[in-house]
């Protein structure tokens, strides 16, 4: 509860701070301080200190998993604010409002990590999404930003409609909005129709809408355009924290309800996983802009994260946390560097290693992590995903794992194009000014990634603490 209330309050504080000051640095610092408070509040909540004791009538349930994810999301946002905060306040004329919207979105994230009824799921998604529509369009003079915002908004509303229809059908079948399945103790599943028709149909629609939110193919179409069109700082936020929150919501619901779909659930899921991996990885190969490549790569990463649904065991819940952390840190880092680049194409990175060796090295670590190379956090993230799938399904899922690793190899292709540009090609990579604080931040993040990569329990021990 701390996180939800604090983030809403801090959003209001940010709104007011715009009245009090026009100085963007101060606004940024207020935001960072706010995030710090938020993080502390959430950590306190994790270790049973409730600042706000409100009976939500079982609409929200705060478990360790959700709270821990919250911490990851808030900490990631904190890192994001530290690294890219100065860029956030440069976008548009409303620096404080941008941060306010980020706080509101975080409120949605917190709801999504703790919802216990479909109503809260719906509200959480909306609270998270609406600020994003706005942030996407916040570069008002930029037609790309306009376009992205419009597309995001229209498709987002459409998927909300699908979600609501799903919820309604589910309600029609069960008479309540609880996420727990009333059938969860029933006998062995033999046909898909065991649970009637309305409930599975509703679940399918919810499933599709969630797929849309986490940009799983073929519901991913908004992702490249929106990520590309949105101001880069906000793409960074959307592609990491928001996306991870979408996954948490997805998993929270479907780790319980997936079985209600009957035996076809795994074929539906694997179809979607393969489609996502295919679209994400293959399309990323031909991109010329690093930003757009990252958009497609985020689709590809979503394909891996979907494995958590397949596994649905302790490994998958640990894994999705690890994945969120690894993916968020790496992507925030890459975007932070991207924002500093004058030219977003691959060629724009040519020769960066000569001009900014430290930045290039950190960027390499982030890219290696995204590619899932051992000794980086990304490796264990992918490892957990595949392991969780293998653990519960064994033999039948092996082919899916093989397909996944082959696509992981494809992903190396486009991630390493950036490395090649930085290290092996001659060129004058132009950047805006890079402060030493920024570099220090990058180094810290790179070290974090390597630490998790050497020993993931570094992160996961917190989970069990």
């Amino acid at each position: 509860m701390n996180a939800i209330i604090l983030s809403a309050l801090l959003g209001v504080v940010m709104m007011f701070s715009s009245i009090l000051t026009e100085n963007r640095t101060i606004i940024r610092n207020i935001a960072i301080a706010g995030l710090l408070i938020l993080l502390i509040g959430n950590l306190l909540n994790t270790y049973t200190v409730y600042s706000f004791n409100i009976d939500s009538h079982n609409m929200l349930r705060f478990d360790k998993f959700g709270l821990f994810f919250n911490s990851i999301a808030i900490a990631s946002t904190l890192l994001y604010a530290i690294l890219s905060g100065s860029d956030v306040v440069k976008v548009g004329n409303y620096p404080a409002e941008s941060f306010a919207l980020i706080f509101f979105a975080l409120c949605g994230v917190a709801i999504l990590s703790s919802y216990n009824t479909l109503l809260m799921l719906f509200l959480g998604i909306e609270i998270m999404s609406i600020p994003l529509y706005i942030l996407t369009g916040s570069d008002k003079k930029n037609l790309k930003s306009n376009e992205a915002s419009l597309k995001y908004f229209l498709m987002g509303c459409f998927s909300t409609g699908i979600l609501l229809m799903g919820i309604t059908l589910l309600y029609g079948a069960s008479g309540n909005f609880n996420i727990e399945s009333v059938h969860s103790t029933s006998n062995a599943v033999t046909t898909s129709y065991n649970y009637g028709i309305l409930a599975p149909l509703g679940l399918i629609l919810i499933f599709i809408s969630m797929c849309f939110k986490v940009s799983a193919a073929p519901f991913h179409f908004w992702t490249p355009d929106v990520y590309d069109g949105a101001p880069s700082v906000f793409t960074s936020f959307m592609a990491t924290i928001v996306k991870a929150a979408g996954f948490i919501a997805f998993i929270k619901l479907f780790s319980i309800r997936m079985a209600d779909l009957g035996p076809s659930s795994s074929i539906i899921l694997s179809t979607i996983i393969i489609a996502t991996l295919l679209v994400g990885n293959i399309t990323a190969v031909f991109q010329q802009s690093v930003k757009r490549m990252l958009a497609y790569s985020s689709i590809a990463q979503a394909g891996f994260m979907l494995f958590a649904l397949y596994g649905n065991n302790d490994l998958s819940s640990e894994g999705i946390l690890l994945y969120s952390a690894a993916y968020s840190i790496a992507t925030i880092g890459i975007f932070a560097i991207l924002i500093k680049m004058k030219d977003y194409t691959f060629d724009g990175y040519n020769g960066l290693a000569k001009k900014q060796p430290l930045v290039a090295a950190a960027n390499t670590v982030f890219l290696l992590s995204l590619a899932g190379i051992p000794l980086t956090a990304g490796f264990f993230a992918k490892y957990y995903m595949l392991a969780s799938a293998l653990k519960s399904n064994g033999h039948a899922v092996l082919w899916l794992v093989i397909v996944a690793v082959l696509f992981a190899a494809v992903s190396v292709y486009y991630y390493f194009r950036v490395i090649q540009a930085m290290y092996f090609k001659e060129g004058e990579a132009e950047t805006t000014e890079i402060s030493s604080k920024f570099k220090a931040g990058l180094v810290v993040m790179a070290i974090l990634i390597i630490l998790i990569g050497i020993n993931p329990s570094f992160l996961l021990n917190w989970f069990y603490f």
Binding site: L150, P200, I204, I208, P224, S264, I267, I282, F286
Partner: protein, 634 residues
């Protein structure tokens, strides 16, 4: 006596190391002395061993485990018995003479190349000694490849000349083809008997099936074909004449090329068990003898004639082996070593005198300029022609008699070959030494007899060529054939042929008479009017060696190269690498196509979503049949 066995190969090895490492610092004379002395030392030790064997019989000296894996134990061991001690004497004895000869022959070389030459020569002696001393097939194989290497190095000694290099490479590669056969035979033995030691192999040979024996012996024979230049692997030997002449004498006449005979004689136990192989060996040997003799008829290079003669004589030896006359073959190895080394060295003396001119059409009348060379060469020619009582007569006769006993046709063809041998040898002799000098004035002016270092070995070898045959005088001529009794512990499966004495006399008479007629004919024909024009008609086919080289070039060399080119340019580049790159291109292509779906139109996106919803619902409606289908796939 066992304690000194290791000295035999050790001396040449030391010589190799000293000459090899010190070739830049040592003086030429020192190099020559070291090179020759080490071989002489080996010879002396060999003599001691020889008499020891004669007195006390064979012995095996085991030094260390060379390879010891599981049940396979190959030890580095030497076996000194009658056969090997005889070969030791031939190798070190003839080898020593040739070393001495070389000190003079190669004197014009730069010091470091001079040193290199002697190092190679010593290394060769070392390898050859390993070959014959080894107590198992593996050690024999080590020597076997070692002599091949030295042959390669020495043929290509003058490495500035690319033709010589090609000849060297050809020799090595052809030998390797044979070596593969040897190796396979070796594996076969090891698989069946679990050992490669002669003693064990022969002791357990009877446990081998007849198929195994045939396979093993044929494969071994393939090895012998390569090393001893038998059809079809003979073409390297004439080309090997690119090396310095003493090398031709030592390696390509007296010692290395007889390794095949040594091997088969050594394995006589196995060979005698397979009639098929014996016949094959005889037929190949005979064919080689005749075939190369025909080629020798029309060659104009003094060394080429001798080379083909060597091939032909080796064919005789295999004929002898094939008909079971192992002793005869070994006997012929010995006598051949004497007279062929002599002939080569004498030829070398001629070439030396002629300033490296080798074409006999530009010689003639050398009799008066090179008296010692002339006499010794003549003696060699008589010996090879098989005129009694020269050494060649006894050895060749023994083979022919055995061939007759086996099959009179073998004998008939053998005699025809002998006639050709006599003919081309005396064609060579007459063209070179008789008549008038046909070279340039400059050459004539410089004609001179070779120095003593060259003539003394000639004389010694001539002596041996003359008397060498008396160790194997057959009983019908009143001898005891001491060689046979000496070798009998090793060659246990000698075929005893029983021919009427009268028949045998008749056979001898015929072969001698045929040879004599050929000699007289040749001298008459060529001493006055040597054949100077290019051959025409069938003669051209012969002088072009039946076009075998061309045939091989087309059939094997070019196709191999073409295959390589094909594989490199077509298969590798387009198919295999093409497939690998094709996957990359496919990904790239599908990337370009797939991104077109991302049309930028919201309604298009939503249409895809709606279709996907329909598909997902349909999959669900399908009640998991698709799932079941996939799960049965694995």
């Amino acid at each position: 006596m066992n304690k000194i066995v290791y000295l035999v190969p050790l001396f040449p090895l030391i010589g190799f190391l000293i000459n090899g490492l010190g070739r830049k610092s040592l003086s030429k004379s020192l190099i020559g002395i070291i090179g020759s002395a080490t071989v002489l030392a080996s010879f002396i030790v060999s003599l001691v061993l020889f008499f020891d064997v004669k007195a006390h019989g064979a012995s095996i000296v085991d030094y260390f485990n060379f390879i010891n894996v599981d049940s396979l134990k190959v030890s580095f061991a030497f076996q000194i018995d009658a056969l090997s001690s005889l070969f030791l004497l031939i190798i070190t004895g003839v080898g020593f003479l040739i070393h001495v000869y070389s000190t003079a022959y190669m004197i014009d070389e730069e010091p470091q190349h001079y040193g290199r030459y002697f190092a190679y020569l010593n290394l060769f002696i070392f390898s050859m000694l390993l070959l014959v001393m080894g107590a198992n097939y593996v050690i024999m194989f080590i020597g076997w490849e070692g002599v091949g290497l030295c042959s390669y190095l020495l043929i290509g000694f003058w490495f500035k000349n690319d033709n010589f290099n090609y000849a060297a490479k050809k020799a090595f590669v052809m030998n390797r083809i044979g070596d593969l056969g040897f190796l396979l035979a070796l594996f076969w033995l090891i698989q069946k008997l679990g050992t490669a030691n002669y003693a064990d192999v022969f002791a357990h040979a009877s446990s081998l099936s007849s198929f195994d024996v045939t396979a093993i012996t044929i494969l071994l024979f393939v090895g012998a074909m390569g090393k001893s230049a038998q059809i079809p692997l003979y073409t390297w030997l004439p080309d090997a004449m690119a090396g310095p002449t003493p090398v031709s004498a030592l390696i390509h006449a007296a010692t290395m090329v007889t390794a095949g005979i040594y091997m088969i004689a050594r394995s006589n136990v196995l060979y005698s068990m397979s009639e098929v192989t014996m016949n094959l060996v005889a037929i190949i040997g005979l064919a080689t003898a005749l075939f190369s003799a025909t080629i020798a008829l029309k060659q104009n290079d003094i060394k080429k004639v001798l080379a083909y003669s060597t091939v032909s004589q080796l064919g005789y030896m295999f004929l002898g082996l094939g008909v079971g006359a192992y002793t005869g073959a070994v006997f012929h190895v010995m006598t051949h070593a004497f007279f062929k080394a002599l002939l080569f060295l004498a030829a070398g003396s001629v070439i030396h005198a002629m300033h490296h001119e080798q074409d006999i059409r530009k010689m003639g009348g050398l009799k008066k300029h090179l008296p010692i060379t002339h006499i010794t060469f003549l003696l060699g020619c008589i010996a090879i022609s098989g005129i009694p009582p020269f050494s060649g007569f006894f050895s060749k006769d023994e083979i022919l008699a055995a061939a007759f006993a086996k099959n009179p046709i073998y004998w008939g063809l053998g005699v025809a070959g002998a006639a050709m041998t006599a003919f081309y040898m005396f064609r060579l002799y007459a063209t070179t030494f008789l008549g008038t000098f046909r070279g340039t004035h400059d050459q004539e002016h410089h004609l001179h007899e070779s120095p003593a270092a060259m003539t003394i070995p000639l004389i010694i070898l001539a002596l041996l060529s003359v008397i060498g045959g008396f160790v194997g005088v057959p009983e019908i001529l009143g001898g005891h054939h001491e060689l046979r009794s000496f070798l009998s512990p090793v060659i246990t499966t000698e075929v005893e042929h029983h021919i009427e004495h009268s028949t045998e006399y008749l056979l001898m008479g015929i072969s001698v008479a045929v040879a004599a007629i050929a000699i007289i004919f040749a001298i008459n024909k060529f001493s006055k009017k040597p054949e100077l024009a290019e051959a025409t008609g069938f003669g051209k086919v012969l002088s072009n060696k039946w076009y075998v080289d061309e045939l091989y070039d087309t059939v094997f060399v070019r196709t191999t190269l073409a295959k390589g080119k094909f594989l490199k340019n077509i298969i590798e580049k387009n198919i295999i690498d093409g497939a690998v790159n094709g996957v990359g291109k496919l990904v790239n292509y599908s990337s370009r196509q797939l991104r077109l779906i991302q049309s930028g139109l919201v309604s298009g996106y939503i249409l895809f979503m709606v279709l996907a919803i329909i598909v997902v619902v349909l999959i669900w409606v399908n009640d998991g049949y698709i799932y079941k289908f996939f799960s049965t796939l694995f």
